[in-house]
């Protein structure tokens, strides 16, 4: 088992290093002629006006919050799904109640118009 993770660790090292090695290699062969116009922000030939790094809209936070809830739900459902065949009826009903509670959360968000894109 540990051997399997050895391959993943090795692949992680290689996959992380490889793109940067290739970009480093192109640094050797590519032309380097920077000038202020070329290196300015691309905006269809116009000059950029105003700050770019603005705050995220509140709408995104709402979706992110719902996402976190459901992602954690998925984390809990994976062990349940793997052990499903050994589980008794009680555990299954419990898991279904868990899903139902989350579904209620989704319905609440729905009714509160949190899922409407304004």
């Amino acid at each position: 088992m540990l051997q399997q993770y050895g391959l993943i660790g090795m692949l992680a090292l290689i996959a992380l290093a490889f793109p940067f090695v290739v970009v480093g290699f192109t640094w050797l062969i590519r032309p380097k002629r920077p000038d202020p116009i070329k290196n300015s922000t691309y905006e269809c030939g116009l000059e950029t006006i105003g700050e770019t790094w603005v705050q995220f809209r509140a709408q995104y936070y709402l979706f992110a919050l719902i996402f976190v809830v459901f992602d954690i739900e998925a984390m809990f459902l994976f062990p349940f799904a793997v052990a499903f065949k050994q589980l008794g009826l009680f555990a299954v009903i419990e898991a279904l109640l868990f899903v139902a509670m989350l579904a209620m959360g989704l319905i609440y968000a729905w009714r509160k118009q949190a899922l409407e894109w304004q």
């Binding site: 088992m1 051997q3 399997q4 993770y5 050895g6 391959l7 993943i8 660790g9 090795m10 692949l11 992680a12 290689i14 996959a15 992380l16 490889f18 793109p19 940067f20 290739v22 970009v23 290699f25 192109t26 062969i29 590519r30 380097k32 002629r33 920077p34 290196n39 300015s40 922000t41 691309y42 905006e43 950029t48 770019t52 790094w53 995104y60 979706f63 992110a64 719902i66 996402f67 992602d71 998925a74 459902l77 994976f78 799904a81 793997v82 052990a83 499903f84 065949k85 299954v92 898991a95 279904l96 899903v99 139902a100 989350l102 579904a103 989704l106 729905w110 899922l115 409407e116 894109w117």
Partner: protein, 399 residues
């Protein structure tokens, strides 16, 4: 030569024997084997993507009544190689206002997450990078890095188009991860394992045709639609909508850094197709795969290519959605349907029905949930379509 002796495992065993005979320590052997395996996966991925880009461009060309690439090499096969060489020698323009560290890190991370996903994909029985017992969970974990890379690129470029693209990445990739995960949980529940190879093994009944897609067609549909969105493909390619935000989060990238995003995009599509094949289409399962283990690789690659073809077909055919339509489709249609399907499958599996009856019940439940969902969707859409349209909504004073 006897065909049945072609076994990719034999090559591995031969290599293992070679290392042992060279008198190395056990740890050294493990390190070298891991290194060779990782390099093989990396090389496979890079060669594959060269072919995939050509394939998709050619397909899109034919579907849209164009020729597609046909100048470099036979049938334009070397077009991608030429493109890669060109991008390798291009000047790398970094905008002066960019945040350098995340700007340079983002393309690397984008490639990292797709290459990492290759590790757990079973190409054939036992021909798999790492057959870990949390395979599906690992794929989710690695896949989440992709949205981070896109967000980093969008934010660090300090460009308004890129920033909007980055915002959309957050909204889209995070939202569609939920139906994707929920659809992947259902086969895990049926087979009782998260091991990717275990999922393929579990679909070996009926002469290698006991695929989960027959009993769980709705789970596959949800998975497929969500994988289109996760792969940033049309009709869900809002985050790089050319007509609105030019190219999305990778607008400020040039040269090799752009090439990495391009590679990650195609590879991601293929990886999603491979996951779909493994989980729903039996992976390497097929007739005579027990007698001829090498056939498994052919079956797997063939099925994955068919799924990739469907993705390219959809991309070349469908127009783009609006962001509000995309978000409501995910949260108001796919997620509730996936939750209902999860509950229904859990109940049906616990009824302890005899085998053919259980499969039929699962299929009936899938189709019934799909039809109900589509009917409800159609009804609300029609209501919205025929709702009286006023020039302005009169405000009724509240008493």
């Amino acid at each position: 030569m006897d065909l049945s002796s072609i076994d990719l495992r034999a090559i591995g065993a031969w290599f293992h024997g070679l290392l042992i005979s060279s008198g190395m320590s056990q740890t050294g052997i493990h390190v070298i084997e891991a290194l060779v395996g990782a390099l093989l996966l990396l090389i496979f991925g890079l060669t594959l993507v060269i072919f995939l880009i050509w394939l998709e461009r050619k397909l899109a060309g034919r579907i849209q009544d164009r020729l597609g690439p046909n100048r470099v090499g036979p049938y334009g096969l070397l077009q991608t190689v030429a493109d890669a060489l060109k991008l390798l020698t291009k000047e790398d323009v970094t905008p002066l206002d960019a945040d350098r560290v995340p700007y340079n890190l983002a393309p690397g991370l984008a490639v990292f997450h797709v290459i990492m996903a290759l590790a757990v994909i079973p190409f054939s029985n036992r021909v798999i990078g790492a057959d870990i017992n949390v395979g599906v969970l690992y794929l989710m974990a690695v896949g989440a890095i992709g949205s981070m890379a896109a967000l980093m690129a969008g934010w660090a470029s300090n460009n308004k188009y890129a920033l909007i693209g980055g915002f959309r990445v957050v909204a889209q990739l995070l939202s569609y991860e939920i139906p994707l995960v929920l659809a992947m949980i259902i086969p895990v529940m049926v087979s009782g394992t998260m091991r990717m190879n275990g999922l393929a093994v579990a679909q070996g009944s009926i002469f290698g045709f006991g695929w989960f897609v027959w009993t769980l067609p709705l789970a596959f549909l949800i998975f497929f639609v969500a994988s289109l969105a996760e792969g940033e493909r049309a009709p869900f390619d809002l985050l790089e909508a050319e007509s609105e935000i030019v190219a999305g989060y990778n607008i400020e990238y040039s040269g090799m850094k752009f090439a990495w995003f391009f590679l990650a995009f195609f590879m991601n599509s293929w990886v999603l197709a491979a996951i779909g094949t493994t989980i729903f289409f039996g992976g390497w399962q097929g007739p005579f795969v027990d007698q001829l283990p090498a056939l498994g690789v052919i079956y797997f690659l063939g099925k994955t290519m068919i799924l990739f073809f469907v993705q390219a077909w959809v991309r070349a055919t469908f127009p783009r959605l609006r962001i509000d339509q995309m978000m409501s489709f995910c949260w108001k249609f796919l997620v509730p349907m996936a939750l209902v399907l999860f509950a229904a499958v859990a109940i049906i599996l616990k009824l302890n029905l005899p085998q053919p009856l259980e499969a039929i019940t699962l299929l009936v439940a899938n189709v019934a949930i799909l039809l109900t969902g589509v009917t409800l969707l159609g009804r609300t859409q029609r209501k919205a379509l025929y709702a009286p349209k006023r020039a302005f909504t009169p405000t009724i004073p509240r008493l």
